[in-house]
Amino acid sequence: MSRRVCVVGVGLSDSPRTPEMTPRMLEAQAFRRALDDCGLEKGDIDGLASAGYGGMHEVQLAEYLGLRPHWLDSTSCGGSSFEFQTHHAYRAIEAGDVDTVAIVYGNTQLSTSGRSLGTGQQFQLTGPWAYEFPTGITLVGCYALAAQRHLHDYGTTPEQLASIAVQIREHAGRNPDAMYREPITVDDVLSSKLVADPLHKLDCCVISDGGCALILTTEERARSLPHEPVYVRGAAGGSTHHSVQAMPDLTSTAAAFTGPKAFAEAGITPADVDTFQMYDSFTYTVLVCLEDLGFCAKGEGGPFAESGALRLGGALPTNTDGGGLSNTHPGMRGLFLLCEATRQLRGDAGDRQVEGAETAVAHGSGGWLSTMGTVVLGTVPVR
């Protein structure tokens, strides 16, 4: 019989500015805090997953932490890597390959590279980049191309995109650790600098330092730990393209199949989701995934967002920690989504708590809307 799998520990490193720390130090700090959160010790961890920008990232981290893991995962598919790793750890724990897995990530994007991420990167000119980089396209530009087509096809407006940033900023105002907490208006977003039309500066995520760690284990072990277990109920991942040039449809993503697959496994429909933790690299990322995951119909993401659905008290409280748009984004944010979803389901989210939250979705996006990973968490198991 397969085992039920729970998230038992979460930890966040210091953030959003940590010039005195290296990425690995942030990872270690988040790991220690996740252990303290769940009352486990280092010796209890027998599996490790991580992703970074170099080879054998998780192996280096295992050595640094003094772990000798029996199970490793280094799936590295951009910001959604950690939804994929959670999916893989869930399956491996369920099957009995490993009992307790730590998923860890940290980066000093802000202190190392400043605020140029997405508009000033040099890529190796191999594969698709040999054709794309010389056009002067940027990471922000790729998302902008997709957003522009959505505006064209569905009449989505820049104001509707901006309303996403406004609502998520409201949540950041309730998070004492968020990078930007002052309220903003739709006009503020629209009058911020255009980076790549139609995306303004405030349509783009922040650049920060930060680390996060998540610990998963069996339900049996979870029962002896301090927090109420948070169950992994379903997960799925996939990709449709790498570079935007090869994106089959600029107005839909792999979330259109990862969402239904994960929701079916979890035995839920979009209407059952109490809080949505969404990889908000850009306002458009949120909008297109709201549609693809079935929270509204295709083309209706703009009106749905503009209705106020994403705010606390709305139909789908989204990015309750302030998200990547206002809280923290150290390069690959997927793990932070799972941390906030877990806190919400524990009822530990303080001023930003979604009352009575029982079901949460963490949805990661990676690359250029290329990879999508969906994880459904809940306060009760599926079966």
Binding site: S116, Q122, Y131, T135, T138, L145, Q148, V195, A196, V244
Partner: protein
Amino acid sequence: MSDTAVPRHIIPRVTPESVEYFAGAVRGELRIQRCTTCSKHQHYARLLCSHCGAETLEWVTASGRGTVHSFTVIRQNGVPPFDEWVPFVVALVELEEEGARILATMPSVTPEDARIGMQVIAEFRPATDEVAFVDFRAAP
């Protein structure tokens, strides 16, 4: 965009797979692959057809005509020489040949004039003896 020497860091390394595309561009031809099994075209060059998986690819010279499927105006790019180009239009162009889209700069199209659906045609910007870049301009 200036006429000064093209910085080395934006010049792709030509591989056995991409040489036909870049050499074609130097000659003023837009070379793409066509699959003789499914009749669809693809850009960029690959060993297999990305539509049907067959190995039956041949190189053809595309008309260079296409439609702007989407575009953006790059207003911030910290990498030279793009930092001096801003603002400039980058478009995802759907070629007349079925199945092929190409990302390209449109140096002669102003941000105000760029439109989804506009008809465009390829033009070629020499970089080195081995490489030219494919840009697009408004079709006459």
